[in-house]
Symmetry: C2
Subunit: 141 residues, 2 copies
Amino acid sequence: MLHDDGLELLSEADCHDLLAKHAVGRVAVTVGGLPAVFPVNYVVVDGAIVFKTGEGTKLSAALRHAVVAFQVDEIDRLYHEGWSVLAVGTAEVVTDPDDLDPEQLPLAPWAGGTRDHLVRIRPELISGRRIVRHVDAVTPV
Amino acid sequence: MLHDDGLELLSEADCHDLLAKHAVGRVAVTVGGLPAVFPVNYVVVDGAIVFKTGEGTKLSAALRHAVVAFQVDEIDRLYHEGWSVLAVGTAEVVTDPDDLDPEQLPLAPWAGGTRDHLVRIRPELISGRRIVRHVDAVTPV
């Protein structure tokens, strides 16, 4: 088992599994030269992360052919356990319904507004860590 | 009430309140030219985000005087409701215990390993959005 400063490193296969099972992630982009992070609901299609965004949004603009980070995690704040997976890849806006059809994806928009642009990120790098409860972690300080 | 493509915009005061009440966030940095996102447990001290990291980690290196994004959210996957707050500011590593004393902060390291470097981010920009349940969101597609 590989470790990274107390964190257990996950295999690539485990990272892909966790990514595929989750439904909400965060995309990190650069907007106007500044870093920004937005939560999105997503699905995995053929190994790629797919989510909807509105046309003309800051997020949509930032995502065009940019290298972005996509992160998912599940963290138990009570028991201080969990995992985090980070995927990095180029984002592309998919407009061809023969390639990806928004109507065929289980991606209901959570908020109102118009979010009919599909964004796809094919992970080129994927890594993950599991936070294993540390015995001293619950000691009050 | 201001809206952003179906999302309700939060006031700066609400953003600071939500940031102060939460305990786990995600820091977005650039590592080796690529974007990366790491979850951390944190506290707010005098309006600044403070968390621990290990010396010599990728995260620690990336944080030195970098402009970073820090994001917290709480999202109900069942009811498709929640909020997200994004703070942007310059990260600094604090080594002077008279400035910030790691022993005095309620920041127990969750994982093993050595995390005795304090990082502080003073938000220069803060923004937030609330996801309000959209009637059509639960329609199966």
